[in-house]
Symmetry: C2
Subunit: 142 residues, 2 copies
DNA sequence: ATATAATGTAATATTAAATATTACAGTTTA
DNA sequence: TAAACTGTAATATTTAATATTACATTATAT
């Protein structure tokens, strides 16, 4: 799995804490520690699905307009990483009953696993993530 | 995630269908379509945990001695891939509340996600996998 | 009008991870 | 004692993830 999923979570959380103004891909990339072009790619997916809005030009950037509880991690997972749990099986031997069928069997099992994972991820909205971030912040002793 | 998990499932299923004799890493690798050395590496983990036995020398190989229902996919996952769900977060900006805490928040969430996944994987023992392989075999029209 | 600051996206380069290969020591059998 | 295996480390290759460059497009401010 690539880290588009976690980058999307990071970006949305960042935007959710700045809902009064637009944030640039540069600012987000600095927070997340990755290249701004990657941020733009991930955010372009989120925009396509209506989670954020963007504006070009001076003073432009990205902004999160929905309610914090309206977006959960399963939504984000599906947009950025659906199918990522599926193992990449090499082509196996068709003359062996195991080789001939294992790929499809595993596909079915992992499809179920992903759905099951979804039930867990639905429990976390951006609001919950922000709460957890704040908790971590408060419990750190600097 | 690498494919050690699925290779382990493939190997155990293969062995489970040959419980009267030993199978060589060459035979398994031919069924799975990967290099025999990889099979030996994965099986060496499974051996360490008591799922299979091995024997060196002529006529040697690997053999699965437990009951087919004694081993489930969660057992195998833990041995081969524990922690694989965890995203590899780049070091993010400590001066930003999101950057400073997101890594730990995600770690916590993904730890829960893995446990949750475990509950699903426990439903599949090698017996169930064999049943699915047979079903696939029977439903294919050659 | 025009310079500037932003997004959008494709193309390419680089880095990191997964996998394959080689090599060889140790074991068992014939 | 030769042959057929496992066990495992070291290295090479391939593939996937990420970064970088480049540039078109859009909006703002002067």
């Amino acid at each position: 799995m690539n880290s588009d999923f976690t980058l999307a979570i990071h970006s949305l959380t960042f935007l959710a804490l700045q809902r009064d103004r637009m944030s640039t891909s540069d600012a987000i990339s600095e927070s997340a520690g990755v290249h701004p072009v990657r941020i733009r790619k991930v955010l372009s997916l989120l925009k396509k699905h209506g989670f954020i809005k963007s504006k070009e030009g001076t003073g432009g950037g990205f902004i999160f307009t929905l309610d914090l509880s309206e977006v959960n991690l399963w939504d984000i997972y599906r947009i950025t990483s659906e199918g990522a749990l599926q193992p990449k099986c090499p082509d196996s031997n068709k003359n062996c009953i195991v080789g001939a069928n294992m790929k499809r069997v595993l596909f079915t099992i992992f499809l179920g696993a992903e759905e099951h994972l979804g039930e867990f991820l639905k429990n976390y909205t951006i609001k919950e993530v922000i709460d957890l971030v704040n908790q971590e912040q408060n419990s750190s002793c600097d």
